[in-house]
Subunit: 209 residues, 2 copies
């Protein structure tokens, strides 16, 4: 599957010295394509996002793009997964010691849903709900990314899922984060979002103990 | 504005006897168009939804459709608003005495976000995020529908918004409802959703007192 190479890669890590320059170039090309694909999807939606448009944006030939990603579905699902992994890693790095400040963790988790990645993923989900070819790929991707985000939330919040209701509390928080992302799609909802989150961070604190 | 007639109408009420048969026919045509527009948007998305497609689905001539709704934007924003109002009225009717059972109210509120209306509205929002012509119309519509849903939630939950944190608690619940709607887009998320809601209904109960 086209995302295996990305999964093996540790984001932010420099290329290993024993890798050939050709491999490095191929990797860099792939990464440029993935980043351009997410930006394109966030700005122009699924209808305006093709392999050709992304290749041009990334400054890569169409042939090279198709070598890395044979189909449009390959490119865009890999792109959303790649950027989601980058953001997850960055989020973990923000809180190396976990749940020191739960309120800060809640705000940082919700930040995952208010930027270009969420816009891109939303376009992909909505397109998948109408297109049979895209649907199974995106369903699988959504489940994978959702599980990983849940794991990060549990770790960073220091939530003890063996206690009744804790798992559902964390899930509900992530559902709320998704809804807050949607509320931010057409207008800047920051001020309202911060008031809502301040209140729910209190409720969460009481529940997680 | 094209929705004024709909606002004056009491859903479910039979036509007044002093209205002419011609007015009745025009009203019935308009209603068929609005319902067909929401169904079309939910099934085929914005790209597949045109006035012509909706007119055919509603069994109405294209000329008659354009008489009621001069532009595509008129038709689809009016349609989402009309169905949202119908559903709000039906929700109020379910709980004529308000907050007798808060848990049941929470479940019914979230139901607003899991059917064809939410799918249709989601398609419209996502399209509006890319299309300058649609964006201000949908932003305004979203704000109007959002305010009305908030009012209903406050009433049915018997929430006292003069108490600190209560307003934000209700807003957060509706954000969560939107996120749960999104989680239900590609797969049937009912079982997980019910567990999450059972837990959050408890948290809500503690906060609202």
């Amino acid at each position: 599957m086209s995302t295996t190479a990305e999964r093996d890669r540790v984001p932010g890590q420099h290329p290993k010295p024993d890798r050939s320059p050709k491999q490095d170039r191929s990797r860099a090309t792939r990464q440029r394509l993935l980043e351009a694909a997410v930006a394109c999807l966030a700005e122009h939606g699924w209808a305006g996002s093709t392999v050709a448009v992304v290749a041009e944006r990334a400054g890569v030939s169409r042939g090279a793009a198709q070598h890395h990603f044979p189909t449009r579905e390959d490119l865009f699902t890999a792109a959303v997964e790649y950027v989601a992994e980058e953001r997850s890693t960055a989020l973990r790095a923000l809180f190396p010691d976990g749940a020191a400040d739960r309120r800060a963790v809640v705000f940082a988790l919700v930040d995952l849903y208010t930027g270009p990645l969420f816009r891109a993923a939303l376009h992909l989900w909505v397109a998948a709900s109408d297109e049979e070819q895209l649907r199974p790929r995106v369903t699988e991707l959504e489940a994978r990314v959702g599980r990983e985000t849940h794991r990060i939330a549990v770790d960073l919040l220091g939530a003890d899922e063996s206690r009744p209701g804790v798992r559902e509390t964390v899930q509900g928080l992530l559902d709320m984060a998704r809804g807050l992302g949607l509320a931010n799609l057409l207008t800047d909802d920051t001020a309202r979002r911060e008031r809502v989150l301040a209140q729910w961070a209190l409720l969460l604190e009481e529940t997680l103990g």
